[in-house]
């Protein structure tokens, strides 16, 4: 089975901190994604990447950046965390085209 691993299940950070959320997949998938999920808003796409060093903005990229230096790893960066970035963050990977996603277990980030 494809496995998508997010480095932390729970994180608490202070306002203004730089935050790194790490995601690793083990099946050589080309496409990787970062979503955030908030009550009543469903999953919203932040950024995605279809190849190493490639990135595309999703629906809500403001306040975030990403890094994909290796195919298996896709990092989400909060340059200066704010309280409105408190959320569940989900990483996903996919082989390509119309193949299904595999999601990680999520990181629940609280910014205080």
């Amino acid at each position: 089975d494809v496995k998508v691993t997010q480095s932390s299940r729970y994180l608490v950070k202070r306002t203004g901190e730089k935050v790194f959320l790490e995601c690793v997949q083990d099946m050589d998938h080309e496409n990787m994604f970062w979503y955030r999920q908030d009550p009543g808003l469903g999953l919203r796409l932040i950024y995605f990447s279809y190849d190493v060093k490639m990135k595309e903005k999703g629906d809500i990229p403001e306040g975030y950046s990403v890094s994909r230096e290796k195919k298996e790893r896709f990092s989400l960066i909060l340059e200066s965390a704010s309280t409105n970035q408190t959320s569940m963050y989900l990483c996903a990977s996919r082989y390509g085209g119309n193949y299904g996603y595999t999601f990680g277990s999520g990181t629940r980030l609280t910014v205080v």
Binding site: V4, L41, G42, L43, E56, G97, G100, G106
Partner: protein, 112 residues
């Protein structure tokens, strides 16, 4: 940007068949329809995918009419453990199908 529309919530009882319908009026010719299941504090999990007519696996069936403007996920004989949020996903966005947008999902509550 086209979107999917699902009921916000549904209730059912153990042992019943549950049908959740998703509307996707602007589905493109090459788009597939995929359904995911999400439990609290976990990432969504792939359930089933189809292009047209009917698809069945060990978990569910997916019915897609000829015009493909809607699809119905059918869960036979649900149990309490099927209580979850179910997302209908259609490949939207650019031609490569890399950027997929999730709708709000349907919260299914199975009662004893």
């Amino acid at each position: 940007l086209a979107k999917t529309t699902q009921p916000i919530s549904m209730d059912s009882y153990e042992g019943q068949e549950v049908n959740i319908t998703c509307s996707h009026n602007n589905i493109a010719t090459n788009d597939y329809i995929t359904w995911y299941q999400q439990f609290p504090s976990q990432g969504p999990r792939f359930i089933i995918q189809g292009y047209k007519t009917k698809v069945t696996n060990e978990v569910a069936s997916l019915f897609i009419p000829a015009d493909r403007k809607s699809s119905t996920l059918s869960l036979p004989r649900v149990s309490l453990s099927d209580t979850a949020v179910y997302y209908c996903l259609v490949a939207l966005g650019n031609g490569a199908g890399n950027m997929l947008t999730f709708g709000g999902g349907t919260r299914l509550m199975v009662k004893p």
